[in-house]
């Protein structure tokens, strides 16, 4: 037991993280300076990237976190150290952007470099490990997520990052950023909603009719196998035909290229998890429970609404979690066929080899999927727990 040893005991994982921090500090540039948006840049080590006092302070904090990672064992201490580290380097990279950019130069771009990303990775690993060991309940995880989201919002709204290239890209296209964001959410959530409307009855029907089950699951799993852009491509042909020949379809905004094939593809991908989990949830309701409900004189409909669906709910939610995380990611590809969404910036960025533009599209997508996964996992835990309390 490490706690019984009075002497220093190195934590293996912590030592790896400390090594990562050391590598970031000594050997990797903290920010990259470029004369304009597209040319390749030069790296600046942390010491040259900040005003001297700030640089010394940041380096001391970073070294302190590394020592904590290697030597401290209590998860709370490690979490505190990791959070302190993150709270220092995130604003620091913003300050550094202002410091490195020559006064009055509006073409120069400063981006976080490998050293910053390594530090962020190391601190995030330390925090993730501490949070895992703390075994937070669902409310605790939601609270941790809200704190992280709040800090991020503070960072973005305070303007601390406004000199960074990423935020300059955002400032140049703030309006389209929010428009594509709304489109992204509409694609992901809209197709999920449609899949629930269709998938829940389908799951219920195939729970009741075994003959339907095998055929439906097999068909849907074939759809799931088809890569997204191939499915978009396959849908473009019939939708284009529909738009050209059915005036109503064209009036509804259905076109071969655009949001319609993306929406339909996401909907098709979403069906399998919803149907399969509805079926799995319903089939794990114990037979004696439904038997008892029948004995109490509940009708078939009452049994379904009051007994079976509530008991199957956590499993159905688990299917919805899969769908949501999957859709938020896949909606990025919609941009390739003119469907909009954050992918627009990713593909524009690839085209212009502008990494900050890529990040402008990729980071919100990752943040959304990450938050969706944590929130839905917490809700699933809460509904499971609620079910047990009633037992």
């Amino acid at each position: 037991m490490p706690t019984l040893r009075p002497t220093l005991h190195l934590d293996r994982l912590g030592s790896v993280i400390a090594g990562l921090i050391g590598l970031a500090l000594v050997a990797s540039p903290f920010v990259t300076y470029r004369a304009n948006r597209i040319v390749s840049g030069e790296g600046r080590l942390l010491f040259d990237a900040l005003p001297p006092a700030g640089a010394v302070g940041t380096i001391l904090v970073v070294i302190g976190v590394a020592l904590c990672a290697a030597l401290a064992h209590r998860p709370l201490v490690r979490l505190a150290a990791a959070s302190l580290g993150l709270c220092v380097i995130f604003p620091a990279v913003g300050v550094s952007a202002g410091f490195v950019t020559p006064v009055g130069n509006t073409f120069a771009r400063v981006s976080p470099a490998i050293g910053f990303w390594l530090l962020a990775l190391a601190f995030a690993l330390l925090a993730a490990d501490a949070l895992t060991r703390l075994r937070l309940g669902p409310w605790g995880r939601l609270a941790a997520l809200s704190i992280a989201a709040g800090m991020l919002a503070l960072l973005l709204l305070s303007g601390a990052w406004s000199d960074l290239s990423l935020m300059k890209e955002y400032a140049n296209r703030a309006e389209s950023f929010w428009r594509e964001g709304r489109q992204h959410l509409w694609l992901a959530f809209g197709s999920m909603g449609a899949a629930c409307l269709v998938g829940l009855p389908l799951g219920l029907a195939s729970h009741r009719v075994p003959a339907l089950r095998a055929a439906l699951l097999q068909g849907l799993s074939i759809v799931q196998t088809i890569p997204s852009i191939a499915l978009f491509g396959i849908l473009i042909a019939p939708l284009g035909y529909l738009a050209a020949n059915v005036p109503l379809a064209a009036a509804l905004g259905i076109r071969g290229i655009g949001a319609a094939p993306a929406f339909i593809a996401l909907f098709l991908y979403s069906l399998l998890p919803v149907v399969a989990n509805t079926m799995a949830g319903l089939s794990q309701v114990p037979a004696d429970v439904t038997e008892a409900a029948r004995g109490m004189g509940l009708s078939r409909r009452q049994r379904l609404v009051q007994i079976e669906l509530p008991l199957a709910f956590p499993v159905i939610l688990a299917g919805i979690r899969i769908v949501l995380v999957q859709n938020l990611g896949l909606a990025t590809i919609a941009a390739l066929i003119g469907g909009g969404g954050f992918g627009t910036f990713v593909f524009q960025g690839i085209g212009q080899t502008a990494i900050d533009l890529v990040l402008l599209g990729a980071l919100p997508t990752v943040a959304l999927s990450f938050a969706a996964a944590i929130i839905l996992d917490a809700i699933i835990d809460l509904t499971r727990r609620g079910g047990h309390d009633r037992d």
Binding site: P227, S228, A230, I234, I236, G240, V325, I350, T353, G361
Partner: protein
């Protein structure tokens, strides 16, 4: 497997092979989709070569991720790596919320256009399902089985090779299958960063507004993915059967 299932698979495979080697035979079906005398069949490269390089990059990336992911999963389930187990579990969960396209897009500015960013994205993203499943397979081996193996005088190495890995094999294979399917899709998107692959056909169609290209690209990729998925599924079932387990135990 019923005769019908065998015939169906053989027919699908034959269709794919004939399509990529002799696409002109199918031109009649795609002509109605073109406008202004645009070509009905992809003419900027051979479909066969694109298919082969598509499969090649997926195979190489999956091979690399399988080796690393299985090694890592073995490491974190040994006494020496226990401290890394909780974190690696959460990392896999977090990692899967990253869309593969984000990994691909971020790799481009770092390593340039071409095969490299695609390989990196396929490799990194492919690690997750294999690692997760290997971990699940290894941790689900019952302690009693391991105790029995120890009682028979097996050392740690023998227990791993002769007991744990064979028992975990069907689950590991399921992870590899998932990883291959994701990679086939990501490799298709890889064509946006100039990797040679079937995505080229779809993208060329999107750029020249030629629905025939888009459709045939989509169909070839889809057929390829479905066949590979199915073939790996057969391998999984064979591995499960060797252990004498019913099919539904492998999820």
């Amino acid at each position: 497997m019923s005769t019908r299932a065998v015939t169906f698979r053989a027919a699908a495979l034959l269709l794919l092979v004939v399509f990529v080697t002799r696409p002109q035979l199918f031109a009649f079906a795609f002509v109605p989709l073109t406008a202004n005398n645009a070509p009905a069949i992809y003419n900027q490269g051979s479909l066969l070569a694109l298919t082969l390089s598509h499969v090649r990059i997926v195979f190489l990336a999956t091979l690399a991720s399988t080796i690393l992911a299985v090694a890592l999963a073995i490491f974190v389930t040994r006494p020496a790596g226990r401290e890394f187990l909780p974190l690696s579990r959460s990392l896999v969960n977090i990692g899967q919320t990253f869309p593969p396209i984000a990994v691909l897009a971020i790799a481009v500015p770092l390593v340039g256009f071409g095969e490299k960013p695609t390989f990196i994205a396929l490799f990194l993203y492919g690690l997750l399902p294999i690692f997760e499943n290997t971990l699940a397979g290894l941790t689900e081996v019952s302690p009693r089985t391991l105790e029995a193996a120890r009682g028979m005088g097996m050392n740690a190495w023998q227990r791993l090779w002769q007991v744990e890995l064979p028992l975990a094999l069907p689950v590991i294979l399921a992870g590899i299958r998932l990883s291959v399917i994701i990679s086939l899709g990501t490799a298709t998107i890889g064509s946006t960063v100039a990797a040679k692959g079937l995505g080229e056909v779809i993208i060329a169609g999107l750029q020249s507004n030629n629905v025939a290209f888009i459709l045939q690209g989509g169909l070839v990729v889809a057929l390829l993915a479905v066949l590979i998925h199915d073939g790996l599924g057969l391998a999984e079932r064979a591995a499960a059967r060797r252990l004498g387990r019913p099919l539904d135990e492998i999820a």
